[in-house]
Amino acid sequence: MKEIVSSTAETGIGLLVLLGALLSALSAFGLLRLPDVYLRAHAATKSMTLGVFCVLSGAFFFFWYFDNYISARLLLGILFVFITAPVAGHLNGRAAYRTDVPLWEQSVQDELEPLLKGKKMNHEAKDMME
């Protein structure tokens, strides 16, 4: 009985880690193949976060099962990645848009452009007034 539980836990942990690695590979594939900075940021932040979540939770269960050790550092690592990955992706996309990185030619809609242009016009008008 104990052997069955042990082998099931081993296989489960291994499959969890493998799933995380496959998600990371999927994210890297998206980073290679997608046509645009913004689409690439989508691939990099979303699936990458899920992949590292799977790997780190696999490590958490590993140390919990084999060493009887509940690792707060791994939980903190998961939490930290979950907090920082969207922030980094957002800052990156914002920097890309503000430095005029072009969108993909087949992009349908750009809702930010009229807003930013209007803001710039207002600034110029204010400068003219002064």
């Binding site: 081993e10 690695a21 890297a28 791994l74 990955a85």
Partner: protein, 94 residues
């Protein structure tokens, strides 16, 4: 069973890092390179976790937090640099 699965995962993660490295070297814009570098940092976190499982030690778990913080800070600094031309700037002229 577990060790072979861990080894395969390590191999896949290294291939993912190679793919990101291609984007770092090739990327048409600066933001592409920063995205790829951030992804490499997160991949390295996963590799350290898998490695600490393979070696059955908890000594490497601190490195996960350290690499996470460093990757996030470098991404923020790079993004601010390409957006404003400086990492730290006087906030008065926003």
């Amino acid at each position: 069973m577990l060790s072979s699965l861990l080894f395969i995962s390590l191999l896949i993660l290294s291939l993912a890092i190679l793919a990101c490295l291609y984007r770092v070297l090739r990327g048409p814009s600066m933001a592409d390179r920063i995205t790829a570098l951030d992804t490499i940092g997160i991949n390295v976190i996963a590799i350290v976790a898998v490695l600490s499982m393979m070696l059955k030690t908890q000594a490497y778990l601190d490195i996960i937090l350290l690499i996470g913080i460093l990757a996030f800070l470098s991404t923020v600094a790079f993004a601010r640099y390409i957006e404003r031309g400086a990492v730290f700037k006087n906030e008065g002229d926003r």
